[in-house]
Subunit: 304 residues, 4 copies
């Protein structure tokens, strides 16, 4: 029996760096994670693409995972960077040696357009590790374009797949096709830009790293109790910020700058070759912060 | 002296087809154009990518242009499909033989990453035709990635360029860099998804084909008189629809289905190989229509 | 009953321009075409990608076709630039008004990964025009990636498809799969770089624009009578030139420069945004010309 | 003072696997490496893209490096898979703990189109490790397109760069531009397909993994003593095989199958998601093996 991932918002955790040294800022990381827990995330996704896992040394990945584990009691999904079987197993083992049974699942990317190849890959990983897998379809990071039918075939043949993270636009279509075909939690990502339609299509929630995670949490909860209109009323005041943040090539830097301005981390440094925050957007950012702050207040006060 | 294009919303006109024959539906087209004029567009962009120009025969292009010209008195920007000099000139001549002095400018795509190549191209076109040019930077259609600095260099050397349409994300950055470098109208496109930040960056307005153009018009007007907050208050209720419509690969079909449901055209057919409207999104579409309808009412009533 | 295209070499005809004006050089074009006929091409492919069809005005396309028709009695395949049904029909009609029954078939690109979409497209074109079609699979020009199985399905359902031009690497695999699946002539292209293996895989010949077409002709003839070793012995002395010519981004300019140096055209101009011949390769070019000249002599003398 | 890498052929070493278990086959690996040394490679490149480094676990990478180090006395360039600074440093440290001073340099990929970003990256790596760097420009693996001018700027500012491996087609142009701009060894790759023109453009040799490395070695030696004609006479009989092997998507599998048939490794298994050898090419492969075997004999006998 498949154990699907809990519905709700899984927070994709950024990795804050100290500006002067570019070392991992564990205080900021702990602070960020506590914020996620406080605002009601059902779990955390660590070492994902937006956690800059591909730019972290092995020791730093362990440090990040250790810090997150200690700072929160939430279940954890650990992102895997590699696209091939043995390096994936390496990463899983390394993560387990740090975070052991705190890890709910490992997020592994679809590494081929061919369902057989992906299935063999995941089964080989599972055979050796016994790990539950979140299957991520994220062509922007993997370079792989796999259709919904192939994804569903993989899920059907892999009982240990506990969720799919669908990030190949148009995600609302992919999620509708997936949820119709297989009984597994499907999450949207991409900064929440398509969340309302992803929920309409049967998504279990969002697994993403928006700078105001409280908005996503409130939106998904509103959906669960009040349906579309309720969810929309919650998310709408945040959509200008969502669209500002989810801009191609600069999304990571914009998000970190927003986290900095919100006081959630102490520096917005990103690791090269990721693009830095473009100062020409400073003015826009300030405006969105003001509106987000008002909207968060309204949320907290129960006004939306 | 450069004559920059009027600020405001230029409506990118869809080409409606009769479902049974796939012929151009001139009645719907006229109706759509009248709607654009009624809601306050400052001009029309015809035969653009979202007008499916690349799928129209030469006669159909003339028919579309003729229909639009007759149905409205707005100034017209005519989209050019070709990427090379002589075919561009061909298209300009064909359009002029139909719409003559109703044409304000021709929209030509950047066809190289090299500013010299683009400059030579535009100058050769202008030398033969005398036409004013809207320079479009739309990598998704052209396959060309040209940076802001090169775009600005082209504009500086071509006095006859009366506007730039910036559709290479992140557009807010590109528009900020362009408006700082050259004194020419710069428009955002992409369904209005980045409009608020494009305005923050100095955009002259939007040149795009959103199914509720009244929202874009009101937003840009609000910006001109009341600044960011006013513009945002207008656009915000429409952002769920904007994000729904502006989905990769299906945006054209979604938009046409919305135009159909709004009663602005009589059939939502698109021409292959463009993707059809995915029926799994019917439910989402219905919800967005309801909310858009309320928001349009509120707009009309002056409540936002 | 399907009438497959004649086996052998179909010469893809370059469009020579006069350097000073960039006008079509009809004398050079006629000369080039006569050369193709003299060296034994079974047919000509005109207005293909390497004929720079996308950079020619409508009048120039007619002029090219007229010139070729008058200069040679070979059957002609006319390349079609558009990817959508009605513009394809436009191009077919325009070509027919010039070259009428001299046209053996029209080469149309696969415009979707979906066999149904391509089939509908070709059938609609054929219904209106009655034309025979050469189906071209050339992702570098079309942006479309369609697999062999889908291509074969299209061919099976379209009796009027008289050939496939397979230019999606690895072409040797695609051609083996296609020739096993459907009974139609399949041609390789890409400058002859894979010709030996394409013949091994069942190719009917080559449809391409190598600067020494006599080598391709002799190679395919040798194959037909003497098999692989004979074909290889003919082509081998030309392979350094083939590989030199078939370089990404500059192949067109290199080929035209070689045609110029061989005295087959009077100027090597290409139309922007195509890249010019890089002068840093002048030395290599001179060396390849010398070796090609020797090899052509040896061919002519019957020494290979 | 820059210490440029030795001119000649650096053999990119494949990683052989045992078919039944997919474990690294150290015997075959040692055998392969001995072959490289025997035929006159000036050095070995280990853990490159064609060594399937991205599919090896950390332990396997160490095992490969250890095996190669023991089987040969040749200088070694170690390929680095990561694109960001700290993971690159991790890989360098891990390799050094195994192969220490046997390592001549580390091959690091250009990770940005921006010369400043690449320079900062390499300098940070060098500051920590003191390592000499071979700068690899391989867009097919890195996804990065950096021009020759930017590459030259990086080299100029990094004295510790001891070579460039130029694998962005057209490589003959890139190598001509690089060798004119900076005084450093520049190597071609890509299976030797462009070797003759790369030598014409000033290349120091080849760094690649062709299944008949003796041909490349003989070609570069012939070039050094006899110039172009001599080099061409050596390589020409192998060009049908070179072009067969260097086919997009299947090059790795074809090469390993050829190494197997030549008796250099015991199994041709590749690790997924790399494509397997397509059996439809078996016949072509057999023919190329026969011709390569004759050509190698002729080489050995001094007949070419």
């Amino acid at each position: 029996m498949r154990e699907s991932l809990e519905h709700g918002v899984w927070g994709v955790v950024a990795t804050p760096f100290i500006g002067s040294t570019q070392d991992v800022d564990t205080d900021s990381l702990a602070h960020l994670v506590e914020h996620y827990e406080k605002v009601g995330a059902v779990g955390l996704t660590v070492l994902g693409v937006f956690g800059e896992a591909a730019a972290l040394s092995t020791d730093e990945r362990a440090l990040v995972l250790e810090t997150v584990t200690e700072a929160s009691d939430l279940p954890i999904v650990v992102g895997v960077t590699a696209l091939t079987t043995r390096p994936v197993i390496d990463e899983i083992r390394a993560a387990r040696s740090v975070a052991g049974d705190r890890i709910r699942a490992f997020m592994v990317q679809a590494n081929s357009a061919d369902a057989d190849v992906v299935t063999d890959h995941l089964q080989a990983v599972h055979r050796v590790t016994g790990a539950d897998i979140v299957l991520q379809d994220y062509p922007a990071a993997s370079g792989v374009a796999i259709g919904s039918a192939a994804l569903a075939a993989v899920v059907r043949r892999c009982e240990f797949v506990s969720a799919v993270k669908a990030e190949a636009p148009p995600t609302s279509v992919a999620i509708a096709e997936l949820t119709a075909a297989v009984d597994v939690s499907v999450f949207g990502g991409l900064g929440g830009q398509g969340l309302l339609d992803e929920l309409n299509s049967g998504a279990a929630g969002a697994m993403t790293g928006f700078s105001c995670p409280e908005a996503l949490v409130a939106c998904v909860r509103a959906w669960q109790t009040g349906g579309y209109e309720a969810a929309r009323d919650v998310l709408q005041p945040f959509l200008p910020l969502v669209n500002f943040e989810q801009q191609a090539r600069i999304a990571l830097a914009v998000r970190k700058e927003l986290l900095l301005q919100r006081g959630l981390i102490r520096d917005s440094a990103v690791r090269a070759p990721a693009a830095k925050f473009p100062e020409v957007l400073r003015h826009s950012l300030t405006r969105h912060l003001a509106e987000a702050s008002q909207a968060v207040e309204a949320l907290t006060a129960g006004r939306i």
